[in-house]
């Protein structure tokens, strides 16, 4: 069976028309004075989903999270959690907890007291609090740091205390605002997997805000790409990467080559595109753009093959000249200047130590790709 990209886990309630949405943003708008942070946005998140809001800073993703937590009220629209309208419910009465970007650990309390804080507010009996705190400390592997104050911990440890504190109350939804932003690269990668394991173990719904696409791709079941207060696309990481629906999304996630052109004709199961400079491209992945309309053909660098001769069986092949070669060890990135002047980026995995068809600066070269390697974008 074919699948788009790789499957992360067998969990896809968004494909089930009967699945009940857990969190619903219903035409939500948030304005700060003249500035519209979130613009008429609708979004559905399912129970036990690991959902990521991905976007550049200022795109409204944090505002969305803060509205869910109750720190901001929407200017218009509703937010529903498990069927309940959250309007007017103050943060301290919402069954959601947030892990802050700055961690917001109480500096005058020990690790233990920080974790117990939310449980005390709930009025949980002392012995139960102790038990839960011990459990949480074990979960984040900080047992021996229980009596320390936050300033005596490393950045990674503080991050884990913040995490333990926010999940201690077993919230319905855990909100994470750039949870790994303050960690260094190596620790961030480790922690990504820890967070995923934790989410599985506790069976919670996670909504994470991030500007790091790799982080979102690694952890999330689905990603919402946001721009200027609007959702551009909501899809699984594989769909976002392999089947972006707009130029913005294609550009925002990963590297991409774009060819401007027009739809020349539709055949039974393929679309023929005439590029702006006359080159022809055949696409057969079900693009529905009307004949004659202006479109963009987008293709990822690793889907493009570079060779010194035109491959005999290639449907799509364009000729050019090697402009730049970057050898990165695991792969080689070629910049090919096509004869019409456009520069195409192609990457080849160095699967063997010896290159059969070595190419270097100024060599004539062909770039070729399969008809299903790219997508047609109409917006």
């Amino acid at each position: 069976m074919k699948s788009l990209g790789s499957i992360r886990r067998d969990f896809a309630p968004w494909n089930d028309p009967n699945a009940k949405p857990y969190i619903q943003f219903d035409k939500v708008t948030k304005k700060f004075g003249d500035f519209t942070a979130v613009n008429n946005l609708s979004l559905t998140i399912f129970e036990r989903e690991f959902f990521a809001l991905l976007g550049a800073s200022g795109c409204g993703k944090s505002t969305l999270l803060r509205m869910l937590a109750g720190f901001e009220e929407p200017t218009a629209g509703r937010i529903l959690l498990d069927g309940q309208d959250l309007r007017g419910i103050p943060p301290y009465k919402r069954p959601v907890n947030m892990m802050f970007q700055s961690y917001a650990l109480f500096p005058h309390m020990t690790v233990e007291k920080n974790i117990a804080f939310g449980l005390k507010q709930e009025g949980m009996p002392g012995s139960d609090i102790e038990k839960r705190v011990a459990e949480m400390l074990k979960l984040v592997k900080l047992e021996q740091f229980a009596k320390r104050k936050p300033h005596q911990l490393s950045g990674g440890q503080r991050q884990r205390v913040a995490l333990a504190r926010s999940v201690a109350k077993r919230p319905k939804v855990l909100l994470l605002d750039e949870p790994l932003g303050a960690l260094d690269k190596k620790l961030r990668e480790e922690t990504q997997f820890e967070l995923m394991d934790l989410q599985q173990e506790l069976g919670l719904t996670f909504v994470v805000v991030t500007h790091d696409q790799e982080e979102a791709m690694t952890m999330a079941d689905r990603i919402a790409i946001m721009d200027k207060g609007e959702v551009m696309q909501v899809a699984t990481p594989a769909e976002i990467y392999e089947a972006p629906t707009s130029r913005f999304v294609a550009h925002f996630v990963g590297n991409v080559n774009m060819f401007e052109g027009k739809v020349a004709e539709h055949t039974a199961n393929a679309t023929r595109i005439t590029g702006a400079t006359g080159a022809e491209i055949v696409v057969d992945n079900g693009g529905k753009a009307a004949a004659g309309s202006d479109i963009v053909f987008a293709i990822r660098p690793e889907k493009i093959k570079v060779s010194s001769k035109k491959p005999a069986d290639a449907v799509n092949a364009l000729e050019g000249e090697v402009y730049d070669v970057a050898y990165l060890g695991d792969m080689t990135v070629y910049h090919i200047k096509l004869d019409d002047g456009q520069i195409v980026r192609a990457s080849a995995l160095n699967a063997s130590r010896v290159t059969e068809d070595p190419l270097t600066w100024n060599d004539r070269a062909w770039v070729s790709f399969r008809p299903d390697a790219g997508v047609v974008l109409t917006r």
């Binding site: 301290y92 802050f100 005058h108 804080f117 926010s166 109350k169």
Partner: protein, 320 residues
Amino acid sequence: MTDIAATAAPSTETATLPARLAKGFVNRLVIIIPYLWLLFFFLIPFIIVFKISLSQTAISMPPYTPVLDFSDGISGFLAGFRELNFDNYTWLTQDALYFNAYVTSLIIAAISTMLTLIVGYPIAYGMARAPATIRPTLLMLVILPFWTSFLIRVYAWIGILKPEGLLNQLLMSLHIISQPLVILNTYTAIFIGIVYSYLPFMVLPLYSSLEKMDYSLVEAAEDLGCPPIGAFWKITFPLSLPGVVAGCLLVFIPAVGEFVIPDLLGGSQTLMIGKTLWNEFFSNRDWPVSSAVAVILLLVLTIPIMFFQQAQAKAQEQGR
């Protein structure tokens, strides 16, 4: 082998020694400046006052007998030690007036400090939570009263508080009261005066500790189920304690020795140590006794504060 080590070690040391000495000197110089300040403007004046407190009144200029003077040479100076007497200090214990004045002053200062804290905290909190653009203006408004004379501002309160003053006129014209309130020349007037005069000293340290507090801590507390009032007492207030302590000390210490406010607003029957000291000095022209009063006042204030600060430092050390 040992020879090599022995000869190698000093050579590296001598190379860095002058540089280290120079660096050490610069570091020390920086520390020396505040100590010199304290020496010239605190310790030496204090020694002079202490010396006067050990002498006797005399009809002369200045109006006390010389004590520990170098005019008789070193032997005379040493002989002076044997003649030292603490009569002025024993005198302070014999007259209940002084004890009462000390105690009243401490109580008045403590109550006014509490009142200043209660009035000042909301002001500082409001300032710290105000939009960042208007904070400098608010700060300016707090400091603005300092631009007029302290004496004139306290005088102005007489005009407000006296029986036919502005406050009574206002309240009577609003028919809230039918008889003028007697506020001037009571302890109430002293409290009003101290709270008014020392409010900036309370607001500024509170503001600085509240302003640098990360507001997301309060949000985190609310997020964890704590209502805003609870979050204030559990998070905001404990974290502003250094500001509270600094503000209270800045108000309490000068308030204990306050003279102008009790004299102008408190009338003749109020008893405060600052006024007692003034009377000793200017009315009785008894410099030695007033010096003794001042020395005792200093001890009464510094010794508890020293212990307090030591305890606080220790608590902080344990907290770490």
